[in-house]
């Protein structure tokens, strides 16, 4: 067995919560990442999805050692980097790079694009053959920027172009892994597709691996080979793309999938939604037992006391749940191409939403309607 490019074992990142006042005592911990394990092979994309605040960015930043993990292990290309100092990390930055969601704030507005993309060469004291300028201009061309814009400033570029600048900088030292934190979330759909395709092409050309952090399940499906689903600092389920989207076993994954809107009005009323009850608990005071138990529609007594381990239910498919869902839940999943997609309408647009609304009403619990009648 070959060792993976990245191996993360039981990684924890807790932030102290301090009291107000002069003594600022530590009164608790934000358990942002609370024991996650995953691996990424060379050349593959692992998607990391979950809702806001579940710890995706903290996981990415801990793996990149922009944070010092509280516990656990991060092994990058065979080297345990978990406790390396900032200076000791420098050579390993050539192996792994990061790109961020906000192309506006991630770039220094006072530096030219050329010096932004070329910075890693200076920091790492690397002299590319032909010089930094030539190398940077090649990178610019590769990511679809005009190399003649070398001396321009970030504010002269659009959002999509700024994301390309970030990608070019990450590529400069030919890393093996790029951690992408919501790289397309701030972009318009047409530009989003350009950047997704670029990332896929670069992966092909350079054998890159990606940790692709995002909250959009449709985007993650398009780009990932395997996907891990996070909730409140924990991984709930990991599976290959096709298995995760067609036969997930964790109740939370089912709830997420059923909530994704699909641009197909013919499906709109036919899907049953799993509505989660209540709010996301605080990571300062997570529920005992399974962290999802306060909102789970399959919860039983055992879930409130015993933490479910992330266990392998089939090769490459891991689930952290005492009562995984192995039967089909009916219509909540969209397992593939839908024939309705290419059917032409018979131009009878009368209230296409009636079906959708009926389904909602039949599902019960609609306080709005009850009160009005």
């Amino acid at each position: 067995m070959t060792t993976p490019l990245l191996q993360v074992e039981d990684l924890k990142m807790h932030f102290p919560v301090k009291s107000r006042g002069i003594f600022r005592r530590v009164v608790g911990q934000v358990r942002a990442v609370d024991g996650i394990s995953l691996h990424i092979d060379s050349g593959e994309t692992l998607g990391l999805v979950g809702e806001s605040g579940c710890g995706k960015s903290t996981a990415g930043r801990s793996i990149m050692r922009l944070l010092s993990p509280t516990d656990g292990k991060v092994i990058l290309d065979g080297v345990d980097i978990t406790t390396l100092s900032r200076r000791q990390m420098v050579p390993h930055r050539r192996t792994a790079q990061m790109i961020f969601q906000d192309p506006y704030s991630a770039l220094n507005p006072r530096h030219t694009v050329g010096s932004i993309i070329g910075a890693p060469f200076i920091v790492q004291k690397v002299k590319p053959v032909g010089g930094v300028r030539k190398e940077v201009q090649e990178l610019m061309a590769r990511v679809g920027l005009n190399p003649e814009h070398y001396n321009r400033y970030p504010n002269e570029f659009s959002g999509g172009q700024r994301q390309r600048i970030g990608i070019a900088r990450a590529l400069a030292l030919k890393p093996k892994l790029i951690v992408c934190d919501e790289p397309v979330s701030a972009l318009d759909v047409s530009i989003q597709a350009q950047v997704i395709n670029l990332l896929q092409d670069l992966q092909q050309d350079f054998g890159l691996a990606y940790l692709f952090v995002a909250h959009d399940l449709s985007v993650v499906r398009q780009i990932s080979h395997r996907i891990s689903v996070m909730y409140l600092g924990h991984i709930m389920e990991t599976a290959s793309r096709d298995v995760l989207y067609s036969a997930p076993q964790h109740p939370y994954t089912h709830a997420l999938m059923s909530a994704v809107p699909v641009p197909n009005p013919q499906l709109a009323g036919k899907r049953e939604r799993i509505m989660l009850q209540g709010d996301l608990p605080s990571p300062i005071n997570p529920p005992a037992g399974c962290v999802f138990n306060t909102r789970c529609f399959k919860v039983q007594d055992r879930c409130r006391v015993e933490v479910p381990e992330l266990i392998e239910v089939a090769p490459g498919h891991q689930v952290a749940c005492h009562f995984p869902i192995t039967e089909s839940l009916g219509t909540t999943l969209i397992t593939g191409p839908n024939p309705g997609l290419t059917e032409q309408p018979d131009n009878a647009p009368d209230s296409p939403n009636a079906a959708a609304t009926n389904a909602v009403f039949e599902a019960g619990a609609e306080p709005w309607a009850q009160r009005q009648s």
């Binding site: 806001s52 997704i196 398009q222 997420l256 809107p261 296409p352 009160r371």
Partner: protein, 343 residues
């Protein structure tokens, strides 16, 4: 005449860099009980259109023309202070950011009670009763208790519900929702969409739903208006827009978006280039620098002559020079390609 009828709306902003033509000749109508979705990329003029309808634009700093007729009254011809009386009453708005309508320093109870009393002549305790009942209806648990919270004590999804409750307090007959779910997680988004669908069913309001998410549109809309660079480029019943989109920009959007019902092994087919500057719009069809089909139009007309918004089927309007048979063929081809098929 429809309940809301917007005709030839034009909005421009004079700025230091030149005149921004944010909305250029937009017309649409919405009936009570129906949902019109407005889609388009960032900067296409969706929010400015809704601000013009709600009378939220500064009339001195903005050039506005056309008409916005709500229930027989032209809001653009009315006095600003009369329009203000309708806001929060007959017409209401919900936004992406709840804090744009909820004041962070005041308890929710104070804000809701005031909102009721501006438009209704009722006692404070009656107004509070109405507010509690409305919070209950939008799905806030323990509303008698939560009503005395400050906005920051609620989660994002709860704040969104409170803002929706505030908009609904005076039973508006026109409701405009500007990206109401964009900042929310998908599970919360699903709850808010369900709530808006129930409102539409029960209250019989005319709803304008602004979003850039074609998935959300398919869930909520009866009709869809696609905007590009300040103009309407396609307008159709929802089934038609997804079943047979005809304007090359709409086709481009359909081919660009990752979606659960397409084959993920088929590469996305992005629209090339970037949206144009509204100060310096391309001549002819604004989409022509990015359009991959303009070479199929004779005599280079696309870069010279602005196409009209013309009928392309029942209730279906399209702004494009291509002959309709070619548009229909391109449409079928684009949709088939999503799943690797060719025609």
């Amino acid at each position: 005449m429809s309940f809301l009828e917007v005709s030839n709306l034009q909005v421009s902003f004079p700025t230091e860099d030149g005149i921004v033509h944010a909305v250029d000749g937009v017309s649409f109508s919405v009936e009570r009980g129906k949902v019109l979705a407005v889609v388009g990329e960032s900067g296409s003029g969706k929010s400015v259109t809704s601000q013009a309808v709600m009378g939220l634009l500064n009339r001195k700093a903005t050039k506005i023309s056309g008409s916005v007729v709500l229930d027989g009254q032209d809001l653009l011809a009315m006095d600003e202070k009369d329009v203000r009386k309708l806001r929060g009453g007959k017409m209401a708005m919900i936004f992406q950011d709840p804090l744009s309508s909820l004041h962070p320093f005041y308890r929710i109870s104070k804000q809701l009670v005031e909102a009721v009393r501006v438009h209704q002549n009722v006692s404070k305790s009656d107004a509070r009763k109405q507010a509690v009942s409305m919070l209950d209806q939008v799905g806030i648990p323990a509303p008698e208790r939560r009503i005395d919270d400050y906005p920051h004590q609620l989660s994002g999804g709860m704040r969104q519900r409170v803002m929706i409750a505030m908009a609904l307090l005076n039973n508006p007959s026109l409701l405009i929702a500007d990206e109401p779910t964009t900042a929310l997680d998908v599970t919360v988004q699903a709850q808010i969409i369900e709530l808006i669908q129930q409102i539409q069913q029960v209250s019989d309001a005319a709803i304008i739903f602004i979003t850039h998410d074609l998935g959300v549109v398919a869930e909520v809309a009866h009709d869809v208006l696609v905007m590009y660079a300040g103009r309407v480029v396609e307008y159709a019943p929802v089934e038609t827009l997804y079943g047979q989109p005809q304007m090359p920009y709409t086709l481009g959007l359909m081919a660009s978006i990752p979606r659960l019902d397409r084959d993920p092994d088929v590469r996305l087919d992005p629209i090339p280039g970037n949206p144009p500057s509204l100060i310096n719009l391309p001549s002819g069809c604004s989409f022509n620098p990015r359009c991959t089909f303009s070479d199929q139009v004779a005599d280079g007309r696309c870069s010279v002559e602005l196409p009209d918004l013309l009928s392309a089927g029942e209730g279906h309007l399209v702004r494009c020079h291509l002959p309709i048979e070619i548009r229909k063929a391109l449409s079928a081809e684009t949709l088939a390609a999503l799943n690797g098929g060719v025609l």
